[in-house]
Symmetry: C2
Subunit: 197 residues, 2 copies
């Protein structure tokens, strides 16, 4: 079985990498572990057990660990940007768009109980294989670009894309580390209040 997905990004269609069902299962498990404990929290044997194959078979799908890491980050990036949708829809104002950005992050936190993948990996960027660090970098560049476009013609003093994204990422860490999800909501409230002006 093959899963295909298309996402509209930067005014052109980008075809997602196509994965077999088993490869997608592996990516799911790997993403879960990475979002919980970082890049080193993923082991081929654990993944193999979770998806019901042997670790050598995981190497068939993803030859080296950096390949797996990069694939997880790229798929995650496409998923997030897909969930964000168009940043320049005519029928929306900046407030509605940023509200959606916050909601996407909020959902990830409350639904999975896990924080943003690139928040975890971004924090350990210095020790990541170049392949993976580069993919994480691209995640942020793309989400920053999305936010920049979304803010066009914003009325209030909403802040810059970096300021908004930083609040979201930091809010997640605070919520996770203190076990107080309300602290994330508090940062979202701040973002939206400033945007409303």
């Amino acid at each position: 079985m093959v899963v295909n997905a298309y996402l509209l990004i930067d005014n052109k269609f980008m075809e997602n990498q196509t994965y077999t069902a088993k490869a997608a299962e592996i990516l799911d498990a790997a993403e879960r572990h990475m979002r919980a404990g970082g890049y080193d929290a993923v082991s081929f044997r654990d993944l193999a057990d979770e998806v019901g194959i042997k670790s050598s078979s995981v190497h068939y799908h993803f030859p080296q660990k950096p390949d797996l890491g990069e694939a997880v980050v790229r798929r995650y990036t496409d998923t997030v940007l897909g969930a964000l949708g168009a940043p320049d829809d005519a029928g929306e104002d900046a407030y509605a768009r940023i509200e959606r950005l916050c909601a996407v992050y909020r959902t990830a936190l409350s639904q999975d109980g896990l924080i943003c993948l690139c928040c975890v990996l971004g924090a350990e960027t210095r020790d990541l294989p170049d392949q993976v660090a580069s993919a994480v970098n691209q995640f942020f560049e793309r989400v920053l670009a999305w936010t920049g476009t979304a803010l066009k013609n914003a009325t209030g003093q909403g802040g810059t894309p970096a300021q908004i994204l930083a609040s979201l990422q930091g809010g997640m860490i605070l919520a996770m580390a203190t076990k107080q999800p309300a602290l994330f909501d508090e940062t979202v409230t701040g973002i939206l209040e400033r945007l409303a002006g």
Copy 2:
């Protein structure tokens, strides 16, 4: 050689854990690795090599890895709170205090090229040994409390302690992951602008 340190916290003197010079060296190396790549980026052998002893000798100073992790976090917490100083000095206003908070974070980033320890560990809280996760939690509780006190009688709409801390933590991740230190400065600018009103 023995290093002693006293810090004024929560209106009472708290004596720092006392470490021999070698134990302090180990903690230095461990902190560096953790801030670069997280808890798993620390290995007893690497630490031993760096401080010029054998890995079994590291176990003499810190029996188990969680003991080492907890010690690193506690010492880091005391250092940061020591650098922050009193949050209720009469001769200062809220702006000056929060400016100092931002400067402490900024210095860590530019001086060591490493982000906040509890930013990295906080992101992987879910997979940390309880001992370590608890120490990280206490770091945030204490810095949040410091910020709350520092903001007393603030004039502008500076935001809550959680909003300010989230911006700082997230700004660090953004700066590190995109290799653009300016993005951290941008978040600091936002924090201080809002505080100035």
